[in-house]
Point group: C2
Chain length 368, copies 2
């Protein structure tokens, strides 16, 4: 036990070999930027690998270097917190294809120029493969648990299906085993918004001069899907922004317009447009059953871990039905699984917000 020391480290590993990819190519030189919180015990048995969501990164607890904001799950990860770093050693790596230090389309290729759209299309499994290589390099044979929400949940499922010996527990929050037509459609809108921006230049934009307008529109469209209709109504309703009457113009009269515009603009300060294209593509390609002959239960045939699934009743992006499908497949595969739908008003984003019931489920599952 470390008392209340956070023991926070950020570093980058260059993988020792080339990384093979699902698309058939391989990436010759891959860097993985990662954060660790807590202390690795002597037999390396206290490790939790945390997978981040689409627009998150490895800054779980540390202050984000671009926004100056607290880490995205600092509420839940730390000494004495739900994911207790006095007890567990938490690792979170920026995904392959990301833009916060791990190799992605903004990284330099062999010719010294950014990959841009020459970067190979990657999959969720490729993201996990890079992180398994990180575990190998760290000499960690088996994890106490993998945890992920949203796209992080897809990675947790992919890990469980493809590297079943390497974790004792799998926690999947607000996620899905495959992207639906509607999920793909919303991502496609975002990609088209980016590609329609003349500054995109087929992906060959100079650093810091990317298609910010298109990326902001993509973020706005996606952001609506992260919130519930009821949550938006409660938070904004039809309230006006700093005015008492409608202006009969195209300013952001309504608070919800102002909020969305801010979400779009601030996103461009911290995210790379090409990364957004590649990561959304990876999510759209995700279909765990398809990788296993069309039967999701087959994906878990070799599963050795305990599973826990959490969904939220107001999440319309990855609704409870999606978690139920996973639970049924795990049951069919004979894997131990607990599944709970929580009530929370925040829609998909509930997994990042203050939902005490989620804390209880997570702590109970991890500390069994």
């Amino acid at each position: 036990m470390n008392g209340n020391a956070l023991n926070l480290v950020n570093q980058t590993l260059v993988l020792p070999g080339a990384l093979p990819l699902d698309g058939g190519q391989s990436l010759p030189r891959v860097e993985v930027a990662y954060e660790t919180i807590g202390t690795l015990n002597a037999d390396k048995s206290n490790v939790i690998l945390l997978f981040h969501a689409l627009t998150m990164d490895q800054h779980v607890v540390s202050t984000h270097p671009r926004t100056g904001k607290p880490g995205w799950w600092s509420k839940s990860v730390g000494p004495g917190k739900v994911i207790d770093t006095d007890r567990y050693y938490v690792i979170c790596a920026n995904v392959l294809g990301g833009c916060m230090g791990s190799t992605g389309p903004a990284s330099l290729a062999d010719d010294g120029k950014p990959w841009g759209m020459r970067f190979p299309v990657i999959t969720i499994r490729d993201m996990v493969r890079a992180q398994v290589a990180l575990l190998d390099a760290m000499g960690i044979a088996q994890l106490h648990a993998v945890i992920g929400g949203s796209m992080g949940g897809m990675q947790a499922l992919s890990f469980a299906a493809n590297w079943p010996q390497r974790t004792r527990a799998v926690l999947v929050i607000a996620s899905t085993a495959r992207h639906s037509a509607q999920n793909i459609a919303f991502h496609e809108v975002g990609r088209q918004a980016i590609m329609a921006d003349p500054k995109w230049q087929d992906g060959d934009y100079p650093a810091g001069k990317g298609p910010d307008d298109g990326l902001a529109v993509a973020r706005m469209a996606a952001h609506i899907t992260y919130l519930s209709e009821a949550g938006l109504t409660e938070k904004f309703g039809r309230r006006l922004q700093d005015r008492v009457e409608k202006t009969f113009g195209f300013d952001a009269d309504f608070q919800v317009e102002s909020y969305l515009r801010h979400q779009g603009l601030s996103f461009t300060d911290r995210f790379d447009a090409n990364s957004y294209l590649y990561i959304t593509r990876a999510m759209d390609y995700f279909d765990l059953a398809e990788e296993h002959g069309g039967k999701l239960a087959e994906a878990f045939a070799g599963a050795k871990a305990r599973f826990c699934l959490i969904s939220f009743d107001t999440d319309w992006l990855y609704p409870t039905t999606e978690s139920r499908i996973i639970a049924h497949a795990l049951n069919a595969a004979g894997a131990p699984v607990s599944f709970v739908e929580l009530s929370a008003p925040f829609g998909h984003d509930s997994f990042l917000l203050d939902v005490p019931a989620q804390d209880r489920v997570i702590a109970g599952f991890l500390n069994q």
Copy 2:
């Protein structure tokens, strides 16, 4: 009775005077382009005014001059059809702010140049006011019915609230008495996509050289909201487009991507980007209760008509709860109202598609 003669006429009326607007301005010269189907009877008592939705127009039955496709409700309007033009004289006018002949931002202002963004911001009530002026010019004192779906339903509600003496029946399909925060949010994404397109040029683009890329993205985002998740899954699922394997690229691998791109592109051939800005703004401003002291029942205090409301169980844009709010307000106002939620798999767009139960409700209501 006219036998099976369609008796279809398209014409444009210049309103005799200036049109006052809710924003406080008035429009000096307003043209209203409209289609009539059927024959006006001697005492002008057989008139149905049909209000069109956001991206529709007056071409209810006639072939669309830009797309060459059949009119948007030719399935339901015509001799012997659900809205029987052997019996009724149907009028449908392009809305104020539109781009199919009625005055809108692409029309020429007094200086001989297009209005562009100098066009005043209009409301749903302004749209209705222009159509009431059309009825005045035609000498039609009272309608057999007003009918509208989606934004057409907003116009029907506004008509009933503001000109209660002028119709004997009001039919509102898949609509709402106010735009929710989520509704506004989706429209704002579309507007930002248009305004982010450099070709928009603050609205001063040459005819035919507008912000097509931005408008296509706006249409794509909106189009998702017109369909149900289940409908999208049934229609497309994760099926690939003309290929047997994923390409590991950014082509439209999935059918749903290809479909959405087509929806976006084809829309730009028939719709003006500035019109899209103005009409979506009018919808976002719509809040019938707000116009009447915050109480929706007050809006219907003078209502003389019979009302019928139809919602669809898979419509998540204007879900059944919105129609229920209207029904409660009508009940509170003592107006006769029948309200039915129909089951149909197509989401919001159900009102335009083949739903036999809807036909029965409409015919039953009109022919009482």
